[in-house]
């Protein structure tokens, strides 16, 4: 099955990194196929950032995301711009500490990632990792172990513990949201 994931937000929130980590988890650690692409144009410089991942059990031919099944979003601007592309019944995981209005489409999962990152870790920079944790337990598109391995090998040396803690906060948030539904 082909699953299309789009991450979007502002430059500096780790949107591209999140996409690469997810694709690495799927392809290197879960033994699936994955392709990652990202936006490069002037839009990447103007603040908006976009990164996309396709995960599949089979060979991935067409490498671009057209209708995401999963949309991870970290800014209101990105929500406005890309929500319309979401596949019917798709999952929207959004940073509810930055986006106050829930999405008008899809299945919404509010995760106050930036707030949690600041309160629990003292650094907002790991908000993207919290969202990756939530994505893992909400969608099951990759295993927790694969995600943890991919996070640990992708983050700068010396920040592993902090990122691992952030990831587990995300796992728990996702599990809580799934239980609530």
């Amino acid at each position: 099955m082909r699953v299309e994931v789009r991450f979007s937000g502002f430059g500096g929130q780790g949107i591209v990194t999140a996409g690469i980590i997810l694709a690495r988890a799927a392809s290197i650690h879960d033994g699936k196929q994955a392709v990652q692409t990202q936006s490069y144009g002037p839009e990447a410089r103007g603040g908006a950032s976009r990164s996309e991942v396709i995960i599949s059990d089979e060979e991935i031919l067409y490498p671009k995301v057209l209708r995401p099944d999963i949309f991870v979003v970290m800014s209101g601007q990105a929500m406005q711009k890309y929500l319309r592309d979401l596949k019917k019944g798709g999952v929207v995981i959004y940073d509810s500490s930055l986006i106050k209005t829930p999405p008008a489409k899809g299945r919404p999962y509010p995760v106050p990632a930036t707030l949690l990152a600041k309160r629990e870790i003292g650094k907002t920079i790991v908000a993207n990792i919290i969202l990756l944790g939530a994505l893992t337990t909400i969608t099951g598109v990759v295993s927790k172990q694969a995600m943890e391995n991919a996070v640990l090998e992708s983050v700068p040396k010396g920040t592993e513990e902090m990122n691992k803690k952030a990831l587990h906060i995300g796992f728990a948030e996702g599990e809580r949201l799934v239980k609530e539904k």
């Binding site: 694709a23 392809s27 392709v35 990652q36 490069y40 144009g41 002037p42 067409y62 490498p63 057209l66």
Partner: protein, 374 residues
């Protein structure tokens, strides 16, 4: 260990740079340009660690000049660029062809003409790779469609350039350059280096009678060879007013590729055996084309795909054969370039689905186009 090995998750441009290192490239001269810049960035980090040299040049004219010089100093060399830089390199592409210098030029194509669309994919430079410089000559051009092939075909480009002493192009596009995929990098790759001639011979440019390729020399090692872009005889001496010498030299530059075309050309064939419609595509578009062929087959349409891995030399006989029994459909990210090559060989009407602007053909678009052909 010189190049990266094992299972990795890499960007296409970085896989290309690692392929170059695996092939023995130890000199890179370039000028950064989107969407090829990561090749230069990676070479700048990696080459000093494997005993190589990276130079950021003043422009692309300087870049190709420097790699030609490096190869005559005995070092395998590469540059990487995109459309505008590719145009600047054209004069010295001819110089490399005329002096039979093995070099590799990577073009991660973007939308043109001019500065066009720096961050968008295109295949608008493929004809330029074959005919961009002045005069008659031949080159080899390859077209990767995955991150794995950005590695594999870069290695292949070096080996072909060395075997035939010819400038060789890796004609990538923004999609394969920038996307990330899993790759498996072998511990060891097969490499070929142009054999050196003996010293003191008088006829440095006398070709091997079978391959038509002469042996190579290296400056500073006692070869008193004269290397010139002027028409030269087999000693390497200018003979610019001699029609016979010019004919013999230039004819050989073209023929050494034509005569060896069957050994050089690589294609990928999918469902051609019983195909009534054959799609012809290369680069990123060939991925969509294969997805389209599978969908068409599910719908009962006997479709097949001929994927060009080698763009030049062109698989003329194969296209002629296919044209006799199937409808041909060319798909490319330009307004019709390889289309003309296909038409030349098919000698019949060839259907064409172009796409420019920066978006890849979707499989659905191709399916609709083929279904509407009836």
């Amino acid at each position: 260990m010189s190049h990266m090995q094992g299972v990795r998750f890499l960007q296409g441009n970085i896989a290309c740079a690692e392929g170059a290192i695996a092939a023995g490239c130890r000199f890179f001269a370039g000028y950064p340009i989107t969407p090829s810049t990561e090749v230069a960035e990676w070479m700048a980090q990696r080459l000093p660690k494997v005993g190589g040299v990276f130079i950021q040049m003043e422009d692309e004219i300087g870049s190709i000049s420097a790699i030609i010089g490096a190869r005559w100093a005995g070092v395998k060399a590469m540059t990487a660029t995109s459309g505008p830089g590719f145009s600047l390199m054209m004069e010295n592409v001819g110089f490399a062809a005329m002096t039979e210098t093995p070099i590799v030029i990577v073009n991660v194509q973007r939308g043109g003409p001019s500065t066009g669309q720096p961050t968008m994919p295109a295949s608008g430079d493929v004809m330029q790779s074959r005919y961009g410089s002045h005069g008659d000559y031949a080159v080899i051009a390859l077209s990767p469609n995955s991150v794995q092939e950005m590695f594999d075909l870069t290695v292949e480009a070096f080996n072909l350039s060395e075997r035939y002493r010819v400038p060789t192009f890796l004609m990538a596009d923004e999609i394969v350059g920038h996307m990330r995929e899993k790759v498996v990098l072998p511990e060891k790759v097969e490499t070929f280096t142009a054999p050196l001639s003996r010293k003191g011979t008088k006829y440095y440019f006398k070709p091997d009678p079978k391959t038509l390729v002469p042996k190579m020399q290296v400056f500073g090692r006692g070869y008193n060879v004269h290397v010139t872009g002027l028409t030269h005889d087999e000693r390497g001496y200018p003979a610019t007013n001699d029609a016979k010498v010019h004919f013999r030299l230039v004819r050989r530059l073209v023929e050494k590729i034509e005569r060896n075309a069957d050994k050089i050309i690589k294609v990928e064939e999918h469902h051609l055996e019983d195909a009534e419609v054959v799609l012809i595509a290369y680069g990123a578009v060939s991925r969509s084309a294969l997805a389209a062929v599978r969908e068409l087959r599910r719908r009962g349409v006997k479709a097949g795909l001929l994927r060009l891995i080698t763009l030049f030399p062109f698989p003329e006989r194969l296209i002629s054969r296919l044209a006799r029994r199937a409808k041909l459909v060319v798909l490319e990210m330009n307004l019709g370039q390889m289309l003309r090559e296909v038409e030349r060989c098919a000698k019949r009407r060839v259907h064409f689905l172009p796409k420019i602007g920066g978006e890849l053909h979707t499989p659905q678009e191709i399916v609709r186009f083929v279904e509407a052909l009836k």
